[in-house]
Amino acid sequence: MNALAIAVDNAPWQRRWRRFRRNRTALSGLYVLVALIVFSLAAAPLEALLGIDANNADLLSRFDGRSATNWLGHDELGRDVLIRLMYGGQVSLGVGIAATLLGAVIGISIGLAAGYFGGNLDALLMRFTDGIIALPLLPLLIVLAAIDLTKLGFSADFARSSAASFYRIVLIIALIDWTRIARLVRASTLSIREREFVLAARVSGAGTVRILLRSVLPNVIAPIIVACSQVLGSVILFEAVLSFLGFGIAPPTPSWGNMLNNAQELVATAPMLAIYPGLLIFITVIAVNFIGDGLQDAFDPRAE
């Protein structure tokens, strides 16, 4: 191995972090998001602590108010609202992050290929991406979510399992959320490709793979992070609306979206059941969007 000492340049990341920290809304977004993650992960411990089972339907305590062990009261099936909100957070955030990462993998591959190789491949891939962006995506997602997995050869047990509904929603959201990442990666790649240091690497004899991994990718990491943070918010909203419409996470597994589904018909009798999950979605998404906006400013190449 060529063991030349590689000094990692931390300076740009430190500068970006400093700029990010100066942005108060972004920083509070970050605190809120961390708090929400902690809140979600605390579900099982709190459940054990209070000695209740949030999945246990108890029709006798339907709509019961707050008590020492049920801090936010009971839902229409007599389950504990708070613990279900916490578990729902795990699902909503989990779907959001997983679908964003999967979408990022697709988007980065397509964006890099289109941007670096250019020409007809670029034209084709970008026409495809723009085509997808222009489509009315929600109905399309509903069609995808309504697919009967048994017709694709999966066992009926798996198709009905909550794991299947999780994987399915991650996959179908990833199928449509990569477009923004792809466009951004393409644009950055296109400008990096024409930068003279990439030309210099080619003149010195470096091959395509080496150039992509060593010269191009490290220089498009920043826009990728920004794009992902901006996509995450819309992914969480997509999960919520699909679950709400009954095409996402299948009950009884709670997600903030499907908790609202039940609450909708009861909005006049038990409005709080509708208010809590929606408020959590709103707070999560706005925190994520504030972070995304802060990252964009912090990573702005003009500020470097």
Binding site: I6, F197, L199, A201, V203, S204, G205, R214
Partner: protein, 326 residues
């Protein structure tokens, strides 16, 4: 004397716009057309012309940055456009390039040491120890201290960065360096430092340069021979002194007259009227005729050949009237 590098009928075109729905073709602009020249060992050939004349494109093609240009480029008699994959890298090593903008030509994420060792690693030159020594040697040769190596490009000024870029070009031990406007992004007070460095390296290493520039004073300083391009074609090529003293093509004459010089106040300097035509509207016949003060009918109809006039075999010009008394 056999040429070290020989370029014959080099033509490079780029497709523009969209595919025509009916013919399936795209329009092409010819950035470089039928350009031929030789560079001898240890010689500096300057390629001059205004923006869009194709000089940078020609230089990049010689450095191997375009796939399959038309024509032939041979190095020591070997055609380098048609090399088997295996030997491409070893032959290509001999031609390196310096770019215009030292703020864009160095990867901001690498240390100077990585920037200089990368070309060595890619070409499989030396083990770790040898690479380290080579890199230290290189940075010394371009006049920078050894502690430069652990730092990043953003810590240096334009002139220092251009020195680093020169060291990188020298790393694979090239015989020809294509220098594409190496001065134009630098402050006036450091341009001469870089010009002197290029001159010294040439003498020490017997390098040849293809020096691409629009700055005729710098060209006059560094070049042995000068080739003038206009709209993608060579219009004149000659030894430096012959070209500057007695330019034969009216475009070269206009170009030289337009160069501002210290101490020449309020003289008539623009012999050439009008603007450069767009790349999609290249005029018929001699491409220069719409701006040429000498243009006659024949210039609109026939394209003049690049050939020698009035005895000087090393002085070629592409003008119907280049042989006439000036």
């Amino acid at each position: 004397m056999t040429a070290l590098l020989s370029v014959k009928d080099l033509t490079i075109s780029f497709p523009v716009g969209r595919v025509n729905l009916f013919t399936g073709h795209r329009r092409a602009i010819h950035a470089v057309q039928d350009v031929s020249f030789d560079i001898a060992s240890g010689e500096t050939l300057a390629l001059v012309g205004e923006s869009g004349c194709g000089k940078t494109t020609a230089g990049r093609a010689i450095a191997g940055l375009y796939k399959a240009p038309k024509g032939a480029i041979s190095f020591r008699g070997q055609d380098i456009l048609d090399l088997p994959r295996a030997s491409r890298r070893t032959v290509r090593r001999a031609i390196q390039m310096i770019f215009q903008d030292p703020f864009s030509s160095l990867d901001p994420r690498m240390t100077v040491s990585e920037i200089l060792s990368d070309p060595l690693k890619v070409n499989g030159i030396g083990n770790a120890q040898e690479i380290r020594e080579r890199v230290q040697d290189l940075i010394g040769q371009v006049g920078l201290p050894a502690d430069t190596l652990n730092r990043h490009p953003h810590e240096f000024s334009g002139g220092q960065r251009q020195r680093i870029a020169i060291a990188r070009a020298l790393a694979p031990e090239p015989q020809i360096v294509v220098a594409d406007e190496p001065l134009s992004a630098l402050d006036v007070s450091v341009q001469s430092q870089v010009l002197n460095l290029l001159g010294a390296l040439k003498r020490q290493r017997g390098l040849s340069y293809l020096f691409i520039s629009h700055d005729l004073a710098a060209v006059h300083h560094i070049a042995d021979r000068v080739a003038v391009m206009y709209l993608g074609r060579l219009v004149e090529i000659a030894g430096r002194d012959a070209l500057f003293a007695a330019p034969r093509h009216p475009y070269t004459q206009g170009l030289l007259a337009a160069v501002p010089r210290i101490g020449h106040r309020r003289r008539r300097r623009s012999l050439i009227e009008g603007d450069l035509p767009g790349p999609l509207a290249i005029p018929s016949g001699c491409g220069f005729h719409p701006r040429c003060p000498l243009a006659k009918d024949i210039c609109r109809r026939e394209r003049p050949e690049l050939k020698s006039h009035a005895g000087d075999r090393a002085h070629l010009a592409a003008c119907h009237f280049a042989g006439e008394a000036l």
